[in-house]
């Protein structure tokens, strides 16, 4: 379950990476073309940019919050597991030492 979700997050990170690399240039080029051919006004381009920027910021913010929350939970669980294993190893080592001393 965790592995599946981890892979999902890795894919989402890849998508964000691609989005961050492509969107600014794509928007700049398309806005320039729309303005050169007088299809939209400068004000419209400005508003489209603002809406796109705000939408991206909000979506990214919530995605980051949920992902960090998930990662922290996973990290805590892993840390707890490692701690338990360490305790058990210590206990087994002590038992082995006792056994060694008895013999």
């Amino acid at each position: 379950m965790d592995l599946e979700r981890n892979q999902k997050i890795a894919k989402q990170v890849e998508r964000w990476d691609l989005y961050a690399r492509v969107t600014p240039t794509a928007f700049l080029v398309s806005a320039a073309l729309l303005l050169i051919f007088d299809i939209v006004s400068q004000e419209t381009v400005m508003y489209i940019g603002l809406v796109g920027f705000s939408f991206t910021a909000v979506v990214w913010w919530w995605w980051a919050i949920f992902t960090i929350k998930y990662l922290v939970t996973t990290l805590n669980r892993a840390s707890k597991g490692i701690s338990e294993v360490t305790q058990e190893v210590k206990s087994v080592t002590a038992d082995l030492q006792d056994l060694k001393n008895d013999t």
Binding site: A20, R21, V22, T23, P24, T25, F27, L28, Q42, E43, M46, G49, L50
Partner: protein, 158 residues
Amino acid sequence: MTPKKYFLIKAITNVISGLSMSTLIILGIAYMSFDNAFVFQDVKIEIVNNPIKKHDDINFIMIGSKKHECASTQVYGIAYSEDGHMHRLDKFTKQYTRNTRPGEPIPNQWSMAVPDDMIAGGEYRVSMTGDFICNYLIFQKEKSQTYDNILLIVEPQH
């Protein structure tokens, strides 16, 4: 695709995307600053020959500085009499200097004929309005600015 080529493409797209983002942010801020700016700053308009005698024109003087390159497309005044009547002032007998340079306070003056419906005379408050086309970097925008409450005193014209 070899790893070297992949990393090279990734680095190039990162640089292009960074430059595009910077350009978008700089142009966005520049546009907002241009959009919110008034045409004239530190502006003062006065009528210098109050009271206006018979056959005289109304002489205006103005001083102000422009932040951006702006050319006027239409300039007119509305005179409000004390009884609430409106009189449009748009008959220039002496033209103002158009398209004054931006950045420094430049005096400007013009004269307007007394409208026919102002023949009775009296005291008026004039609002001068200018419509402009302003340019800044790659941006162009139509703007309008009004200067209110210019005192006009007209003597009876008959």
